[in-house]
């Protein structure tokens, strides 16, 4: 059984090439993946991310539950609408999923989790809720459209009501606000400014069309992958999964170690791993011809590793990758490509921000 988002017909209408994405029939591109990528870096593009799962967590113990469930600490959230990125870990310290949590008050939060892991996540959320007074509700009455790029906010703003524009005026990155029918968040997966907008299902096609009429380019999963990789953002299932610790996935910054008496799932194992040391996720840059690909072997000073995500970077004009390698890594690595070993640069896992190289 193939799932379809409420925007499926709009994708077909635009001539999208559709692929199966973990049970969802989704657009991979609408012609040229590279042109879609450039549209987001230079102007404005949009993605149908309605397949992602929205879950509301409410109740007197919502905060206590999330402080136990997540490696990052929702108690840090003080401003209404502020969002937090976190791993949701298992007892072995592996990543069950990565997610964004929005704070409204201590009894009211919203999570956005991956579609590929939807049922597993819902089961996990329910299992860990035992003993907490919370209600967990999936909100599948919303579609979600990500509008991203230097001109994305201005273009989307033309579709907002006066009240909605007032609600988002001056909103900093990583906040979300319910404004009339829309939940508008300054989040994204591209390294550009923009919004992720939750729209009631019955309004989604019209909203998509209105963005299209404003010249916002529809972008598929192909461009979404090259954009997130240039931005150094992990893809669940590829750069980390249940067998990988956040410490090995460049997610150390999402673990709140303080206060030390906060118990969260996986904490003991993470503490031991931190003492013992782990592999780490780095960026690789190859300026010569060729494309680094997931699964290629890497040799570094004092150890080995593997490329978890690799691509041609349309913004930079050469290949970049994320690789998990021994922590003894220096500033060069060797990658096995098509039966020969190629020397590449090792950098922090971030390549492009706001349209510009950060190399």
């Amino acid at each position: 059984m193939t799932n379809k988002t409420v925007l499926h017909a709009k994708h077909l209408e635009a001539g999208a090439k559709m692929v199966d994405f973990f049970g969802w029939d989704m657009p991979i591109n609408y012609g040229s993946q590279i042109e879609e990528h450039h549209a987001v870096r230079r102007d404005a593009g949009m993605f149908d991310v309605s397949h992602m799962t929205i879950v509301d967590v409410k109740g007197p113990q919502a905060q206590a539950y999330l402080r136990y469930l997540l490696a990052n600490d929702v108690a840090k959230l003080q401003d209404k609408g502020k969002a937090l990125y976190s791993g949701m870990l298992n007892e072995a310290g592996g990543v069950v999923d990565d997610l964004i949590v929005y704070f409204f008050d201590d009894t009211n939060y919203r999570l956005v989790v991956n579609s590929a892991t939807k049922q597993k996540d819902l089961d996990w959320l329910a299992a860990k809720a035992e003993g907490f007074t919370v209600t967990i509700t999936e909100r599948d009455e919303f579609a979600m459209i990500a509008v991203q790029g230097p001109n994305a906010k201005a273009k989307a703003g033309q579709l907002f009501s006066a009240a909605q524009n007032e609600a988002v005026a001056g909103m900093k990155p990583f906040y979300g606000v319910q404004a009339e029918d829309l939940f508008i968040a300054t989040t994204g997966y591209t390294g550009e400014a923009g919004y992720e907008i939750m729209v009631p299902n019955d309004q989604a096609a019209d909203f998509w069309q209105a963005l299209l009429d404003l010249g916002v380019a529809p972008c598929g999963l192909g461009a979404r992958d090259t954009l997130r990789l240039e931005a150094g953002m992990n893809l669940y299932g590829q750069d980390m999964d249940e067998t990988i610790s956040p410490l090995e996935a460049n997610m150390g910054w999402t673990i709140s170690w303080e206060p030390q008496d906060r118990n969260f799932v996986g904490r003991d194992v993470l503490t031991a791993q931190k003492t013992a040391g782990t592999d780490k996720l780095v960026g690789l840059v190859m300026r010569e011809k060729g494309v680094l690909r997931a699964g290629q072997k890497v040799t570094v000073e004092g150890g080995e590793g593997i490329i978890t995500s690799g691509t041609f970077s349309p913004t930079l004009g050469h290949s970049v990758a994320l690789a998990r390698v021994a922590s003894s890594v220096t500033d060069h690595a060797e990658v096995e490509m098509r039966k020969k070993w190629v020397t590449v640069d090792v950098v922090k896992p971030s390549f492009v921000r706001n349209g510009k190289s950060v190399l």
């Binding site: 591109n29 590279i34 060729g290 690909r293 041609f312």
Partner: protein
């Protein structure tokens, strides 16, 4: 259904061959092949003067999706390569039978070309995939 010009000959591995006269043939990849590969990012072409034999992997078409070998459809000497692809690999996507050609071969044995598929044969071969 992708475009398969009737005047060309084809290898089942998705290369096309066009006679230019004097035993010279232009080689490229088909529209179907570029559709499968997606946006092209690099072409690794043979050198002028290389001797190539039918079935050898002589070039690599690297797209956003994958690196794919290109096989010599005929035996002979490479006499010219498409230098424009160095800066504009997307020509293989936008004009696979025209500006997106890969290289030209002086054939050792022009009867080899007769053993390649015609347009109908190639159309059938990709339907079976």
């Amino acid at each position: 259904m992708s475009n398969i010009p009737a005047e060309l000959r084809y290898a089942a591995s998705h290369e096309w061959v066009r006679p230019e006269g004097n035993g010279i043939y232009t080689v490229g990849i088909t529209e179907h092949a570029q559709e499968l590969l997606g946006d092209m990012v690099f072409l690794d072409l043979p050198d002028e003067g290389d001797q190539i034999a039918m079935g050898d992997d002589v070039a690599v078409a690297e797209s956003v999706k994958a690196a794919s070998d290109v096989y010599a459809p005929i035996t002979g000497e490479v006499i010219e390569v498409n230098e424009d692809l160095e800066d504009s690999p997307e020509l293989v996507n936008s004009d696979p039978y025209g500006d997106g050609w890969l290289f030209k071969v002086k054939a050792d044995d022009i009867s080899e070309v007769e053993s390649l598929l015609d347009a109908d044969g190639y159309a059938e071969s990709i339907e079976d995939e």
